[in-house]
């Protein structure tokens, strides 16, 4: 820490930060545009100018850009100096020269950094009296709107998109005041992180196109602290609602997880909530007629069924712990089954065991600091997208060391990139198919899942001879394993990443062994296992039985009824097996959207999507996080655990009588499942108050509350109550900052845009004040983990058969986001992929119609040629297409359609 003086006041700051960062970190208002805490300093906009004085005697001082200035001990700085204030006003005047001043019709209005900074500098009258420059805008696909006329040339967009996120289809062109940020031609962005441009852009050049369909100003939205439901990473989000529909999702900073950025699935996948496929009311089938019924009747029917005999409960990896636990309570732990395929169930169980034994799971922040990484069998970009963005940053760690050697501070982003050029730190990726991270990989290997596992075991064995050896390894694989092992050995903070992509237990075990071997060697290992759904790990921690056993029990006629919680079983098992299962007993389904499983139900109970629900999710990092409803559900829709609680109540079961609010269920879980005891601390309970008041979900400028529903009744209705949380549904409440887990949105005086997150952090880009949200449930184990001998045999291609593996797609593979129109538009068509050699051997060209025959089903699909896919391995898209329900990998035949 060093001491500097800003306008006469002393501040202690970290000398490794730049002066702008230091000033903002102390809550000083210094306007800026091109600087971004995650993107560093480039000195382009010249907005953060300050005066620096040589010493006390220096009265003139020198104008310098704070973002490009390294602080020195006893530095004398002025933000308020009249000359530098004039300079900053002149900069904004220049930036605003051609700006259209179309705030009233601009989607950014009210959450615009340019507005905030313009007001902060005091510029308000345009003296430029010549024609403004204008541009032609581009159609950039379904996610973002382009309005280049608003551009102020800060270069943040291209720096994020190309430099930070590695995108190749967006760039800057032209010169002078005519610089243009766009694609070579119209078309959808190729990067999976394009949506961040909405927040990275300080004004309205890039705005959320999905939000445009149902636009509402930030000040008129009701927000809630929420967690992304579209993968297992648990990125924190701020969804916004008005008039009972979800309008948009923005990033909610969490220093340990998503930081400043989300993936496009997470940002734009929300629209399923507003879908016409929502189940609006309880309904029941009598004979062949289906009819909506009242809540009372629904509960009556449900409790009658439940009282009549044994129930089979099928849980869900996308439902909260509370809903899953309530189902478990209703059916009994012995009748509670995992709502995932048996292969995934087994794998998740294995993953949970590995994480508990150690290496414990790492946060994204920890992985970003890794100086070498091995990705074993995981397509990170498509399964856990935000993690891919993190790995793309970790490959820069070694370059930081080089920069420090020549005295370049880490915030000087372009200097570091110029020094590094195309160099990057070590990243090894083994996968059956190409991945989006390959462009920053040191080496890649394309291999069948078992061979990927063998490579991993070989690396572990080289690192620690106590780990099992791999017999019969090919020379080139051994040599590669040697290179990987030596590189990891030379690193200080290696990261090992694997996951569910290949659905191969050996792959995950191999990754764990590598991590263990590195831990034994004293390395600070970051370990991550990618999982598919928002509560995959949480469900596994509730210890359900495999779905196959439910099928078997049902086929024996043991069950009176089957209760399916928020799950489409046709995504989990072959259709025939699901048909048989659901045909074997009476079926109750709780869900928010129509699905083939819902169609089979005799009784359908409408439950809440994430934006209308409260609950707790356990991320793949083992982090329990509470999410809160943004707005109360309409009509008789309620959280699944509410339905189940009500039934338990009718059955006079103790849970039903004692669970009056979410905290009661949380307490029930914590008592029943010791591993989940800490979920109590995921967020303060419903009784939490600040100065006796609840925390407002709506901003203080929320308009029209008293008249929003005047067309129905002129008297203002009583605002809905929320017994489950310490949040209120209105703008009334504590005017001070709540704990991070209860922060619905970022907004503070003079900082209306999302850049106001600066004001909520302990230090810039550090944790939110009071600590980031969530509690870790899995801590590093004390005992050193052991190796198990589970090296698989080498993969052998079969004559006339292929090993079909699933390939995940960020857009399309996840159930809920795939039902959001913008995401659906970007989803690929179903296909089967073969390597170039296998396709040639089959005599099939790209796009040819081929027949894929599996034991359980067959389908005709267009052929996609994937160079590099190993011989004997074929890929099918995960989660969509005619064979989506069949858990892969499986052997099957592929024939050219005659």
């Amino acid at each position: 820490m060093i001491r500097i003086f800003v306008d006469g006041k002393p501040y202690d700051i970290d000398p490794k930060k730049n002066l702008l960062d230091a000033c903002l970190g102390h809550g000083l208002d210094l306007p800026y545009f091109c600087w971004h805490p995650a993107l560093g300093s480039v000195g382009a906009c010249r907005q953060c100018a300050v005066k620096i004085f040589r010493d006390e005697k220096d009265t003139r001082g020198r104008i310098m850009m704070a973002c490009m200035t390294a602080p020195a001990p006893n530095m004398i700085v002025s933000i308020a100096d009249p000359e530098v204030r004039d300079f900053r006003a002149g900069i904004v005047e220049g930036l605003m020269m051609s700006h259209p001043h179309d705030c009233p019709v601009c989607d950014e209005g009210g959450q615009c950094h340019l507005q905030d900074m313009t007001v902060m500098t005091g510029h308000n009258y345009r003296r430029y009296d010549f024609p403004k420059r204008t541009f032609r805008n581009q159609d950039l696909g379904p996610l973002l709107n382009h309005e280049m006329n608003r551009c102020i040339q800060c270069y943040r967009c291209t720096r994020f998109y190309t430099e930070y996120a590695g995108g190749k289809d967006f760039s800057v062109s032209k010169l002078r005041n005519l610089v243009y940020f766009g694609r070579i031609e119209d078309g959808a962005f190729e990067s999976e992180f394009s949506g961040n441009l909405d927040e990275v852009c300080p004004t309205g050049v890039f705005t959320d196109k999905t939000a445009k369909q149902h636009y509402t100003r930030k000040w008129d939205l009701t927000f809630a602290p929420s967690v992304c439901p579209h993968c297992a990473l648990g990125c924190n989000i701020s969804p916004g609602e008005r008039y009972g529909t979800l309008r948009r999702v923005v990033n909610r900073y969490n220093g340990e997880i998503n930081g400043y950025f989300l993936c496009d699935r997470g940002r734009f996948g929300y629209e399923h909530v507003n879908s016409g496929r929502r189940i609006p009311a309880p309904r029941a089938r009598k004979d062949s007629q289906t009819a909506e019924i009242s809540k009372t009747e629904a509960l009556d029917r449900f409790s009658t069924l439940a009282a009549a005999g044994k129930l089979i409960g099928v849980g869900s990896p996308r439902a909260s712990l509370e809903s899953n636990f309530a189902l478990r309570a209703l059916v009994g732990p012995e009748n509670f089954y995992a709502g995932v395929s048996d292969a995934e169930h087994k794998l998740l169980g294995e993953m949970l065991a590995i994480l508990r034994e150690g290496p414990a799971p790492a946060s994204l922040r920890e992985i970003e600091l890794a100086d070498a990484a091995l990705v074993l069998g995981e397509d990170v970009t498509n399964v856990a997208p935000r993690l891919a963005l993190t790995l793309r940053q970790s490959v820069r760690q070694l370059l930081f060391d080089n920069a420090e050697k020549i005295g370049v501070p880490l915030w000087q982003d372009h200097a570091i990139r110029e020094l590094a050029q195309k160099d990057h730190g070590p990243l090894f990726i083994a996968s059956p198919y190409s991945t989006k991270l390959d462009d920053v990989a040191t080496e890649t290997r394309r291999a069948a899942p078992d061979d990927i596992a063998r490579l991993g075991f070989a690396v572990a064995h080289i690192l620690d001879p106590a780990a099992p050896d791999v017999p019969g390894l090919a020379d080139d694989v051994r040599a590669q394993a040697e290179r990987i092992a030596q590189t990891l050995k030379a690193s200080a903070r290696p990261a090992i990443v694997s996951g569910v992509s290949t659905l191969n237990v050996a792959v995950v075990r191999a990754a764990a062994d590598v991590a263990r071997a590195l831990a034994m060697a004293g390395k600070q290992v970051s370990f991550a296992l990618a999982m598919e759904e928002s509560n995959s790990l949480g469900l596994a921690m509730l210890d359900p039985k495999p779905l196959g056993q439910a099928f078997a029990a049902a086929s024996r006629g043991e069950a009176q009824a089957i209760v399916v919680l928020e799950n489409d079983l046709y995504r989990r098992a072959p259709a025939a097996a699901v048909d048989a299962f659901l045909g074997s007993a009476r079926v109750v389904v709780l869900d928010s959207l129509e699905s083939p499983t819902v169609q089979k139900a005799e009784l359908v109970l409408p439950s809440t999507p994430f934006s209308e629900a409260d609950g707790t999710l356990v991320s793949s990092e083992g982090r329990a996080q509470r999410f809160f409803r943004v707005y109360p559900p309409a009509g008789e829709i309620q959280d699944a655990w509410h339905w189940l609680r009500d039934v338990l109540g009718l059955l006079a079961r103790p849970e039903g009588l004692s669970w009056s609010k979410l905290d009661d269920v949380v307490e029930g879980i914590a008592r029943a499942v010791p591993a989940l005891a800490r979920i109590r601390d995921a967020a303060p309970g419903a009784g939490f108050r600040i100065a006796g008041a609840k925390i407002p979900r709506a901003p203080h400028r929320f308009s029209g509350r008293t008249s929003m529903l005047a067309q129905i009744a002129v008297s203002e209705p009583k605002p809905p109550e929320d017994p489950d949380s310490p949040l209120s549904f209105t703008m009334e409440g504590a005017p001070v900052e709540p704990p991070a887990s209860l922060l619905p949105f970022f907004w503070t005086g003079g900082w209306n845009s999302i850049q106001s997150v600066n004001k909520f952090q302990e230090e810039i880009a550090g944790p939110l004040r009071g600590g980031d949200a969530g509690v870790k449930l899995i801590e590093p184990a004390a005992a050193p983990p052991s190796y198990r001998n589970s090296v698989p045999a080498a993969f052998t291609p079969r004559q006339g058969e292929w090993l079909l593996v699933s390939r995940h797609h960020i857009f399309g593979s996840e159930e809920l986001s795939a039902q959001s129109p913008a995401i659906a538009q970007l989803s690929p068509q179903p296909y089967v992929a073969l390597g170039a050699e296998d396709a040639a051997a089959l005599g099939a060209a790209s796009g040819a119609s081929v027949e894929v025959k599996l034991e359980a089903a067959a389908a005709r699909l267009p052929l996609r040629i994937e160079p590099g896919l190993p011989r004997g391995v074929a890929a099918l898209p995960a989660g969509f297409g005619p064979l989506a329900g069949i858990p892969l990998p499986l052997w099957g035949r592929i024939e050219l359609t005659r």
């Binding site: 480039v42 000195g43 382009a44 906009c45 010249r46 907005q47 100018a49 020198r62 104008i63 310098m64 490009m68 300079f87 002149g90 900069i91 005047e93 220049g94 930036l95 020269m97 003296r127 430029y128 010549f130 102020i152 040339q153 270069y155 800057v172 032209k174 010169l175 002078r176 005041n177 005519l178 610089v179 020549i406 005295g407 370049v408 000087q412 372009h414 200097a415 110029e418 020094l419 590094a420 050029q421 160099d423």
Partner: protein, 426 residues
């Protein structure tokens, strides 16, 4: 009077080839330098007092001494000749490039030796196609003789030298913009520090040097620092390629002792003003230098004296303004150039120069106001050195701020009469 830089240039305009160059003593300095320790070459250049001829006048030897040396230093190191001569009114490097390309090659061989550079580039203005052909020929000749490539002059050192023709933007002549351009990127300037000497081309230690600067090196090595200092009339050492354009009788480019006065340049070498026009002022060193007026005609044209007079020596090639040419129109033309060439990186430059161009066009067209004059003053303040990312905009401010200072009446008359007095006849 010695003219070492231009002495070998043929009067017929053809380039001097390798054989003729060597007959005239060429490549002796390179041979000599190969026997010298690199640090000794740097020392000689330091002692000579040679200052960069690109415009900034930074001491060359001192710049070289910032290149990290020793076995652990980053490799390869690069030497780049900046031949992107795009400064309006400047054509002095062209004389050397077209007339005596081997002098440049030899200068680069010696400089590379001094800084330990193994690779070099001649970054040439895209329109200099004749010079490009001649440099290619010189490179080919030097390579065939083993003066370039591996183990040059049997020294054990390698020096691979190539020509790169610029895509053609003024920004490419800015030291770090040039490096980005050479790497195939947008010619945006880079932040300093780190300086190119430490992290330059492809992130490696790099020296970028003007053509004329490099052409001085063989002579300094051959004849010594004292000789070089004595060439000058003043404290800034060497000869200088001076030039004059505008309505003078004999526009041209001449190698003269450093410190030759503006008057001598104008009256003796450029033959005085054309008949019927009077001298009003001149930009002494290219478009991005402040106007000097008749009061300054006896200022010696060296770095120190011109700076003292309120301008910069710049490239040493002056653009003369006469009394029959509208100063507003002239400045408008220049600011149009600078606005067009702004890379669009930093706000004061891209916004300020565009605004200035618009205002000057309006004044020239009779649509100006006194408020516009206040804006021009303000823009000049906004783009002052230190406020912008690189030197382009502060350079652009120089002719504008000095025109406002020396010719205020001309601006006011445009505004008062709502027309250009020159354009519409007096």
């Amino acid at each position: 009077m010695e003219t070492p830089l231009t002495a070998k240039i043929r009067p017929d305009g053809e380039m001097i080839d390798l054989a003729a160059y060597e007959r005239a003593g060429g490549y002796q300095a390179a041979r000599q330098a190969m026997q010298m320790a690199p640090a000794d070459i740097v020392e000689v250049v330091k002692k000579s007092g040679l200052r960069g001829r690109g415009g900034a006048g930074f001491p060359t030897g001192q710049k070289w001494s910032f290149v990290p040396s020793g076995p652990d230093s980053a490799r390869p190191k690069y030497l780049v000749a900046n031949g992107d001569e795009m400064e309006p009114g400047t054509f002095k490097d062209r004389v050397l490039l077209e007339g005596d390309p081997h002098e440049l090659v030899e200068g680069m061989i010696i400089s590379a030796r001094a800084i330990g550079a193994e690779r070099g580039y001649v970054f040439l203005r895209g329109e200099y196609t004749d010079a490009g052909e001649r440099i290619e020929r010189a490179l080919h000749e030097a390579k065939s003789e083993g003066y370039l490539g591996q183990n040059i002059f049997g020294s054990g050192a390698d020096f691979d030298l190539r020509l790169h023709m610029s895509g053609g933007r003024y920004m490419c002549g800015e030291e770090t913009g040039l490096l980005n351009a050479l790497e195939g990127k947008r010619a945006n300037p880079r932040a300093k520090p780190p300086f190119p000497q430490v992290s330059g081309l492809f992130g490696k230690p790099t020296i970028v040097q003007n053509i004329e600067t490099l052409c001085n090196i063989p002579h300094i090595v051959e004849k010594g620092p004292e000789w070089f200092q004595k060439l000058s009339l003043t404290g800034d050492a060497g000869t200088k390629l001076y030039g004059a354009s505008g309505k003078v009788k004999k526009p041209g480019c001449w190698e003269l002792p450093m410190g030759t006065t503006m008057r001598e340049l104008l009256e003796k070498h450029a033959g005085g003003m054309q008949d019927g026009v009077q001298f009003r002022g001149a930009l002494p060193g290219g478009a991005s230098t402040d106007f000097l007026t008749a009061d300054h005609l006896d200022v010696p044209m060296d770095f120190t004296a011109v700076a003292k007079a309120g301008s910069r020596l710049g490239t040493g090639t002056m653009i003369v303004l006469d009394d029959k040419t509208c100063p507003v129109g002239m400045v408008w033309n220049l600011e149009h150039f600078f606005a067009q060439e702004s890379c669009g990186w930093c706000t004061p430059c891209w916004s300020g120069l565009h605004w200035a161009e618009e205002i000057l066009a309006a004044i020239e067209a009779g649509r100006g106001s006194t408020e516009h004059l206040a804006r021009l003053d303000h823009i000049c303040k906004m783009i002052a050195p230190g406020n912008t990312f690189c030197a382009l905009a502060p350079g652009a401010a120089e002719p504008l701020q000095s025109a406002l200072k020396y010719f205020p009446e001309d601006f006011e008359r445009h505004i008062r009469e709502k027309r250009c007095p020159w354009r519409d006849g007096r």
